[in-house]
């Protein structure tokens, strides 16, 4: 791909991710933003495109995934324990 084409794709992806962020900020209540996975993924997507070769990206990915895993476990882990007869 040419540099110009690469640049256009990057702009397109950042635009899509930004639109997702705007949608979630408009549609969700501020109290729920912290656990909105679309906001998190869109923000990371923009970061990955703006800083494609960044050495911080793998670590940032691990941190963001950990955050999402935390959100997920808050919801499913108590339910999973319930199946085993454990009430947290």
């Amino acid at each position: 791909m040419t540099d110009e084409r690469e640049r256009r794709i990057t702009i397109g992806e950042v635009a899509i991710a930004s639109a997702l962020i705007v949608w979630r900020l408009a549609a969700g209540s501020p109290a729920g933003w912290w656990k909105d996975w679309i906001l998190v993924v869109a923000a990371f997507w923009i970061f990955a495109r703006i800083k494609p070769g960044s050495r911080a990206q793998p670590v940032a990915a691990a941190l963001v995934m950990s955050y999402l895993l935390g959100i997920y476990l808050l919801g499913q882990a108590p339910l999973a324990l319930f199946v085993f007869g454990i009430r947290p």
């Binding site: 794709i9 996975w37 997507w45 793998p58 499913q76 999973a80």
Partner: protein, 572 residues
């Protein structure tokens, strides 16, 4: 029992050898595709044999075992040892642990899910008892649905005449799903080891994993969608695709709902070189087998009930209370609602524990949510084949969500989607190694949380495990016992919105006859009882004793309560 076990082993060995011999004649030189084809042909052979035996009323262990023995003797010399790719030691150990756990789940679980005990397995029970296909399939409105997966379940019970191994049918489909995901991953240029990890992550998806041992057909449909996508992406021979599509349509119409994505993928890769076509007789054989296995149920319904999609009509299927149970045709409004529901709610998996029905959850698991959804948009950029696959999966996903009712359990119709997320995760990890630990933690959670499904709690599973295997039945979990006599009538007041548990009345060895009552007045029910002469009547768990029709039966005095929702039939 020993003879039955021998027949089971012989017939399974014969089907594998037969599949291997047929698939060898159409080898593509791509081991990952050839392996999928062997599994698919075995599935086709089993389906064809059970279909044929069902139609000719020779559906019993000795006949099928005898056929298997002859085939085995003819094919014994053709065996070639399969070569397995390099999984790496860690994955081999993990896969072995999961395989052992699946076998234990098969052994200790008994069919308990209401969909299974109300309409999927009642067919199997009637077929086994009659030694062939029967008009009587149970009283549930859903019994006429396509029963391709039930053919495979029948295969796993017919030799022992016992349902202790019935969940093996789902496990087999999970293996097919793993092979399909592996082939798909190889086609998007993952290494053998990475593709194997993608396959492992796919089958560890909680919704898919627990569906496999629940006697429901959704894991089977997911497997066939993944396999079809892999074949189309690889430009496999048209007859392979025809076979997969036929088997898929015979499993459940929701497979057909996913086909727009398959067609799109075909258009996207149509300029890629095709793989070698097999000999004409093989191509024709695959096409005929696929058409027959897929069309059988629709033709049967057209002949028996006047519509290939009976009981669904052009207005869908509604319950007695007028609510829509099954949607007919696309609904843009439902599509938008379903998609928003998935994105904003279900994907969090925070409403119910993992289970086969996925009530208000996606079942995509921690890996899919925390890792897959993050990885997917990032890895698509540099990978054209993966972009095509993602687009095709997205179209299939949207197509299904446009065609299904916004009910609590629609996510089980899109269980193929986690295969894409799994491939994305593995691709992502190639450039983001620090995230491996997070994926490992998420996977560990999923493993721990998939020992038992939501509808069979740990306590209930322990209760089942404590029973001797010959008498292992979920009747005990439903507050009842096996019938006190060898013939029992089944009473359910509302059968369009309520699922029942009539399957458990047959007993795990199918030794009890179940008489389905369809009368709408007490006099009609009495007449049915007089005609069929069951000694007891069983009142379905979902039918309260206060139900007006049941009360009328009690008032007429031909039912005498005998405990555990059983009533002695007293006809004078």
């Amino acid at each position: 029992m020993i003879l039955g076990l021998a027949a089971l082993l012989v017939a399974n060995a014969a089907s594998l050898l037969g599949a291997q011999a047929i698939a060898r004649r159409t080898s593509t030189g791509k081991p990952h595709l050839d392996a999928v084809l062997v599994l698919l042909v075995r599935l086709a052979l089993i389906s064809a044999v059970v279909l044929l035996a069902g139609v000719t009323r020779t559906l019993n262990g000795p006949v099928l075992g005898g056929v298997g023995l002859v085939a085995l003797l003819l094919l014994a010399r053709s065996f070639t040892r399969p070569t397995f790719p390099d999984f790496g030691r860690l994955l081999a150990v993990l896969a072995a642990v999961v395989a052992v756990r699946l076998l234990l789940q098969v052994w200790f679980f008994a069919p308990s899910n209401y969909d299974a005990t109300s309409y999927h397995l009642t067919k199997v029970a009637e077929w086994i008892r009659a030694g062939g296909f029967t008009h009587e399939m149970g009283v549930d409105t859903h019994t006429p649905f396509p029963a391709g997966f039930e053919l495979l379940e029948t295969w796993w019970v017919v030799f022992l005449r016992h349902d202790v191994l019935i969940e093996m049918a789902g496990v087999e489909m999970l293996v097919l799903c793993a092979a399909g995901a592996y082939a798909l991953a190889r086609e998007v240029n993952l290494t053998e080891r990475s593709a194997a990890w993608a396959a492992f992550l796919t089958v560890m998806t909680p919704g898919l994993h627990l569906s496999a041992t629940s006697c429901l057909n959704d894991a089977a449909v997911a497997a066939l969608v993944v396999v079809t996508m892999a074949f189309v992406l690889a430009r496999a021979p048209w007859s392979w695709i025809a076979l997969a599509v036929g088997i898929g349509l015979g499993l459940k119409p929701t497979y057909g709902y996913a086909l727009p994505g398959v067609v799109l993928l075909h258009l996207l890769v149509r300029r890629n070189p095709t793989l070698a076509e097999p000999p004409r007789e093989i191509s024709c054989g695959f096409a005929v087998a696929g058409a027959a296995i897929g069309a059988f149920w629709y033709v049967r319904n057209a002949l028996w009930f006047g519509s290939p999609i009976y009981p669904v009509g052009t207005r869908g299927l509604t319950g007695q209370d007028g609510t829509l149970k099954i949607q007919f045709g696309p609904s843009p409004a439902n599509a938008v609602g379903n998609i928003l529901d998935v994105l904003q709610t279900r994907v969090y998996d925070d409403f119910t524990p993992y289970g086969p029905l996925l009530i208000h959850i996606s079942g995509w698991g921690a890996v899919g949510f925390a890792c897959g959804l993050l990885a997917l948009p990032v890895v698509l950029r540099d990978d054209p084949p993966l972009r095509k696959i993602a687009l095709a999966f997205a179209v299939s996903f949207l197509s299904i969500l446009t065609l299904v009712n916004p009910d609590p359990w629609f996510m089980r119709f899109v269980l193929f989607f986690p295969a894409l997320l799994s491939i994305a995760v593995v691709k992502f990890l190639e450039a983001h190694r620090p995230a491996v630990g997070v994926v490992a933690a998420a996977l560990a959670f999923q493993f721990l949380a998939t020992f038992v499904p939501a509808d069979l709690t740990w306590k209930e599973a322990r209760t089942l495990a404590g029973l001797p295997w010959r008498g292992r039945s979920s009747a005990v979990l439903k507050g009842t016992t096996l019938p006190p006599a060898d013939s029992v009538a089944y009473f359910i007041a509302e059968r369009q919105t309520n699922r029942g548990e009539s399957y458990v009345l047959y007993g795990p060895d199918f030794s009890h006859r179940v008489v389905y009552l369809r009368g709408t007045t007490a006099s009609e029910i009495r007449a049915e009882l007089e005609r069929e002469k069951p000694r007891h009547l069983y009142r379905c768990q979902g039918t309260p004793v206060e139900a007006p029709l049941f009360q009328e039966c009690l008032r007429q005095g031909f039912l005498k309560e005998s405990g555990a929702r059983y009533y002695e039939v007293v006809l004078r």
